[in-house]
Symmetry: C2
DNA sequence: CAATAATCTATACATATGTTCAGCCCTTGT
DNA sequence: ACAAGGGCTGAACATATGTATAGATTATTG
């Protein structure tokens, strides 16, 4: 019934690199798992649900990925690679400030939803991805500083970490943002969504001006460098 | 063995308000559940594990809370109330900018860890708590503006939402922050931890100065108000 | 075309988990 | 002291889930 075409001409078990042809049954199972995790979360995603969504038997997902943990790992790595490739492809034209600005118009369906779900409980692949995103952000921010767009920082690395974690944290808490502002960061077509302004406008206001008045900022900085806890 | 004292003189089933005496077996089960969720997550917390940690039988947790979902709901409400009470108690002395600054020195053990775990998958109680935290932040920020500490905003509500979600998102992604900066936001004694500066210093730098150079900020604002998508 | 190997299904098994239930024990009120 | 009622236990039940296995099916290869 669901056996339309079976490109077994490619013995994919012997292919070391993924991301070449990819639309075998194994890939369909992985895509179904990614979509399920993006929609129902990791714990709402069972072997039988994935099998049903992919139109295969439950045993086949184990046959292909060894275990559910293997499937999870494969999804993590696939999504991480997809995000990296997308960034490489779009980041060529000028630096952007945060991660979401780079991934916002990703047409890759549930990628953002998947990332939002797995950011909370860290797998090794997700940790690696976050580390890479921070590294990339640090590079792009440095470019921005050198080209006069961004202010220099006393702690470039720390600032890159904070900005990246803020962006990813907002993605992880997208349900709250959607409830509070009407902006859904996991929406693939968020670039053309006017509701995104409710989130982006305050973000750029903070990025542009900060929130502290100069006198208070100087005082807070002095209090911070000298001592702490002085009310 | 674990039945040291049993204050059954208080028929707690008929007491509408919790947070009065509280250290009955039911309270111990709830606390064990909160600690377990804070450490192992929601899905790593089973009825038997909670029962074992509380020193009771698995059936008793169901007897007291009806179901595991009831236990989860009770934990959500208890933590939300504890956070609200702690804020009320400490917020009297001057406004603070973000949520974490208010909750940072909460001595209530695994409260922050619990919040970090449940922020991702929203329950009604958590959604209500986040809404309240945003409302509080909006009020405190307004006080800060009126007293000259904080800059005014074109969108006070939106700015409060963004700042709150950023703070909570950083809490939800605390493992990444700990890996990247060595700062553990769920650590109860974070106020005295010098490693916290690795996170707080960049935060206050951004809060104080922003990150955009004035010329670029003005240009971005103009491009944003006029149009969008222009590179 | 036959052999072979891989894909895939259907079923079964083991385990974990939520939940229920019959009954014991202990405290409390009379 | 005695009855009573609820806290509490231990075991059992139903279900869901991950995983293994035997066999059927299908495509590829010599």
């Amino acid at each position: 019934m669901y056996r339309l075409l079976n490109m077994r001409s490619i013995p994919e078990n012997q292919i070391p690199r993924e991301t070449v042809d990819d639309r075998t049954t194994k890939a369909r199972i992985r895509d179904a798992a990614i979509a399920s995790i993006a929609e129902y979360g990791i714990n709402g995603t069972t072997a039988r649900k994935v099998a049903g969504a992919a139109g295969v038997s439950p045993g086949l997902v184990i046959h292909h990925f060894g275990s559910m943990e293997g499937l999870r790992s494969a999804c993590d790595q696939y999504v991480a690679n997809a995000i990296r490739e997308f960034k490489e492809r779009t980041m060529t034209g000028g630096p952007t400030l945060d991660v979401l600005a780079a991934l916002r118009d990703a047409p890759n369906g549930p990628l953002m939803g998947y990332l939002a779900q797995v950011l909370a409980d860290d797998s090794p692949a997700v940790a690696k991805l976050v580390d890479d995103l921070v590294d990339d952000a640090e590079g792009y921010i440095q470019q921005g500083v050198e080209s006069g767009l961004l202010k220099p920082s006393d702690d470039p690395r720390g600032r890159a970490v904070v900005l990246t974690v803020w962006s990813l944290g907002a993605l992880a808490l997208h349900q709250h943002l959607r409830r509070l502002l009407g902006t859904d960061l996991t929406d693939p077509g968020i670039l053309t969504d006017p509701a995104a302004a409710a989130y982006i406008a305050p973000v750029y206001e903070i990025y542009g001006e900060g929130i502290l008045e100069e006198t208070f900022a100087a005082r807070a900085r002095a209090a911070f460098t000298d001592n702490e806890g002085a009310t």
